[in-house]
């Protein structure tokens, strides 16, 4: 039984990280969103900077989430810049 979550990246985040979506195995559960960001940030400077930016939004299961959100396997996480539709 895997501990995968799916992660989506949108707009300039997808371009700069060169990734639109991926499956990511959680090290342990429970894992907080803050912990996930730390793990992803270890991939390099670009990841560290973009995920650390105050303007970067995060959604868990398609709803805006805060750093203390608890992730469980099967969850859908998304990172994106401030929205610009309309």
């Amino acid at each position: 039984m895997n501990n995968d979550i799916q992660i989506f990246y949108f707009a300039n985040l997808a371009d700069k990280l060169n990734c639109e979506n991926e499956f990511f195995p959680l090290d342990s559960t429970p894992t907080t969103l803050a912990q996930l960001k730390e793990q992803l940030s270890e991939r390099g400077t670009v990841w560290h900077e973009l995920l650390g930016e105050a303007s970067t939004r995060c959604a868990v299961n398609q709803a805006i989430a805060t750093e203390d959100a608890i992730l469980k396997r099967g969850d859908e996480v998304a990172f994106f810049p401030p929205v610009t539709g309309g």
């Binding site: 707009a11 300039n12 998304a78 929205v83 610009t84 539709g85 309309g86």
Partner: protein
């Protein structure tokens, strides 16, 4: 009614839908269109987050219905490749009295602009969010807090 679609929409048809039910004495519509932008490359792209987008638009519509007396409402947002002057977004509201239709229509586009996960790309450049859009949304949300306080 909400719709996220690549196809264009037609104002007259949306208007007829909004007045299909009795009592629609007032109808307010908003249409947003692609303006010309400074870039040699005139491609225009609208990306969105499928699934979340629909949820957010539905919530916005429900919030408007809870706040104002609305007969019918519509939010349509296009995605994909668009051209300059193309229609991007339609928000329409019918109501008995005009005050409700104006407020609900402006509320829905203001909240959509800051909460619905769409991103515009002009040429090779992702458009940046505007402080004025956040301010417009905050004005509605602060008005909410006021009303909440008054009810205490």
């Amino acid at each position: 009614m909400i719709s996220v679609q690549t196809e264009d929409f037609q104002l007259e048809r949306e208007y007829q839908r909004l007045i299909a039910r009795d009592g629609a004495g007032a109808v307010v519509t908003f249409i947003g269109r692609v303006r010309d932008f400074a870039s040699g490359d005139k491609t225009f792209l609208l990306q969105h987050y499928p699934g979340m987008t629909e949820k957010v638009l539905e919530r916005i519509e429900q919030e408007a219905k809870a706040r104002w007396s609305i007969i019918a409402s519509t939010i349509i947002h296009r995605v994909g490749s668009l051209n300059i002057h193309d229609q991007i977004v339609f928000v329409g509201v019918s109501s008995k009295h005009r005050r409700d239709a104006f407020a609900a229509c402006e509320y829905m586009i203001d909240i959509l602009k800051t909460q619905a996960p769409f991103w515009k790309k002009e040429g090779q450049h992702w458009v940046e969010a505007k402080d004025s859009d956040q301010a417009a949304a905050d004005a509605w949300l602060n008005a909410d807090s006021w009303q909440a306080l008054e009810k205490d």
